[in-house]
Symmetry: C2
Subunit: 425 residues, 2 copies
Amino acid sequence: MTTITGFAVHDVRFPTAAAGDGSDSINRGDYSATYVELTTAEGVTGTGFTFTNGQGNEITCACVRALAPQVVGRTVAELTAEPPRALTAHPQLRWLGPEKGALHMATGALINAVWDLRAKLAGRPMWELLATLPTDELLSCVDFRHIDDALTPAEAAAILDKGRVGLEDRLALLRSDGFPSYTTSVGWLGYPDDKVRELTRTAYAEGWRAVKMKVGGPIEDDVRRAGIIRSEIGPDALLMMDANQIWGVDEAVANMARLAPFDPYWIEEPTHPDDVLGHARIQQAVAPIRVATGEVAANRVIFKQLLQAGAIGVMQVDACRVAGIPEVLAELLLAAKFGVPVCPHAGGVGLCELVQHLAIFDYLRVGTSLDGRMVEYVDHLHEHFADPVRTRDGRYLVPDRPGYSSDMLAASIAEFSFPDGPAWS
Amino acid sequence: MTTITGFAVHDVRFPTAAAGDGSDSINRGDYSATYVELTTAEGVTGTGFTFTNGQGNEITCACVRALAPQVVGRTVAELTAEPPRALTAHPQLRWLGPEKGALHMATGALINAVWDLRAKLAGRPMWELLATLPTDELLSCVDFRHIDDALTPAEAAAILDKGRVGLEDRLALLRSDGFPSYTTSVGWLGYPDDKVRELTRTAYAEGWRAVKMKVGGPIEDDVRRAGIIRSEIGPDALLMMDANQIWGVDEAVANMARLAPFDPYWIEEPTHPDDVLGHARIQQAVAPIRVATGEVAANRVIFKQLLQAGAIGVMQVDACRVAGIPEVLAELLLAAKFGVPVCPHAGGVGLCELVQHLAIFDYLRVGTSLDGRMVEYVDHLHEHFADPVRTRDGRYLVPDRPGYSSDMLAASIAEFSFPDGPAWS
């Protein structure tokens, strides 16, 4: 019965904007983390974070401070045995959402820290903790309110029960081959053509057979860059495109007609992330190219609708924009119900570290297939984590340390604390 | 060429939670305002606010501080002549939305303060400023990105041009009769049955022929309270019901079958505000009862879809959850395009003061009809405003002071400032 005795929150920012890393049609960010530590009398510390883009990280930190009284003083067992409504349905704070924006992102940081504690106390990596929990324990944390018209608790239980069959075989395959992934490091909008060509060539040589480029600049530039990348990776490798929400619905359809000759595997975030009906129209128009979205989908209610409307061919969950493990679990179950593959969003700060656990758990217990599944990989900032991702030939290796791989190095926190760390002062 | 030279933001909270005022199935609030003042060299001060529910008001204040550099140092003329993308599409802050939650609410407070300045400088009440602006000036501030698949700039211009016809006649009617409204003060969930009966009787005696009750408690309680109110107002007055998002989709359909015998005019917020498809299913099931929603609809993209999906029979805009006047204008135009009446959300702190301007402008220049139009009225906290709403026989009287009626009394700000004002310390 471990009780959470206190919390700390750190505003950690990495000065990435100047180099053009992470730049796209919408964002020009200093990759940042609202980093939470939950302390216990036992001396074990749970960590969690939400990723932000620089400015505004002080806001998500303020949200953590507003929400933390809902977890401090409670036990890990009780907090992980119920939907996190003490945070998501707080009678005053909920007004700032509901279940969206800065407050919901801070909720994700806190709830993930609680679950990190649970995994560390159990001595298991997060994927293993989740994959081996009894079905009723897993489901006790899921908030079915507002999604039970699409997925009932009984349907969810059936998915998780069925997921036990063959689990050991799937795990053996992962331990031998790793989890498929793709790289986003070749085609940021901030990079000149020569750098794009060189990075693509290097990635291909390293074994990557799926790469993602940013689109959403002037369409002629997008077409030219798509040509460069396709010529480097050949006809068989996968080329994903990511518009980061810049287009209107009609504009997305028109631009994808221009980009279709380069055989994109998916178009990611073609329009505003709240536009379920718009994504559905785009998906109809661009098929067989898949529409992918989710990294800024506000919550499980948006994902539910994207699936109900047939608006996506690929579902991209984010580990810390929604209310942590319990809401991601709801999203994975919804995707399984509708038969849509999940390819988690990563990159940023520490997102690769988190989502590897989600993808492995999904394969082991929920989706139970590797067909169409890939985890995003971006080669930034892993050196700041105590248990960084490891890849081989374009595949993630299975992590084995207890917890959610979310511990940031104390030296990195100190160096990049904003505004007083040495990196900023 | 008035330049904004500085800003101040005040965390103002009224201790309303203890009395049960404003309590419903989801909220138990201390009605609060994130109150913004924009200063100018001319000595005119623009004011704007966003309404919150108590805790978390410090977060929207922090958001105002993060966004204010985008307006300070710029002129009122240039800020009101373009979509507010400097705030809504900021390359770093946008990640905390986009266009939703605490950051978007703070955007509304700031942008409304800019427009309040414009109206004060013009010496006109907001409704009059808007109603008399040339069509192209009005549209220059509207962000059509992500809504132009439903409403093109040309269609919007045609609506506003047509709205000039008969404008003077409509204004004469308003000056003589006032604007229709309804009262929400009779049926908060925190009130006992006797108080509900007495308040309903009093409201009816005062001339109200449209009242709203909260539902979403145990259904037997909702049914009993609906019976009390309907028996007091008779068969001809309108009874609206408001579930404040508590129900699932199937649950909403089932509960409205229980409440239908009391002849509700609309069911407001039957489920999660992000659930466009859910609202559409409920609207199909409960017709001819209208589905109404919008007070926490995150942005114009959500409203666009609610209209595209035929999910609502009444559209409720909020003055300060979205990005102020420019985004509300987009929403009014969308409603006019789809032929759905707008009944603005009010109550809270100062919302009645704001939305009277929006409703009057909508009638004069956009929707151009009073059919099915009513402004919400709640008799709380008007005494804290310099230009409070005035009603007569259940109708709003036309405000005449220059500006957006958003100026809060200095004594009220001082008294209720959190946490150091006398009301809190």
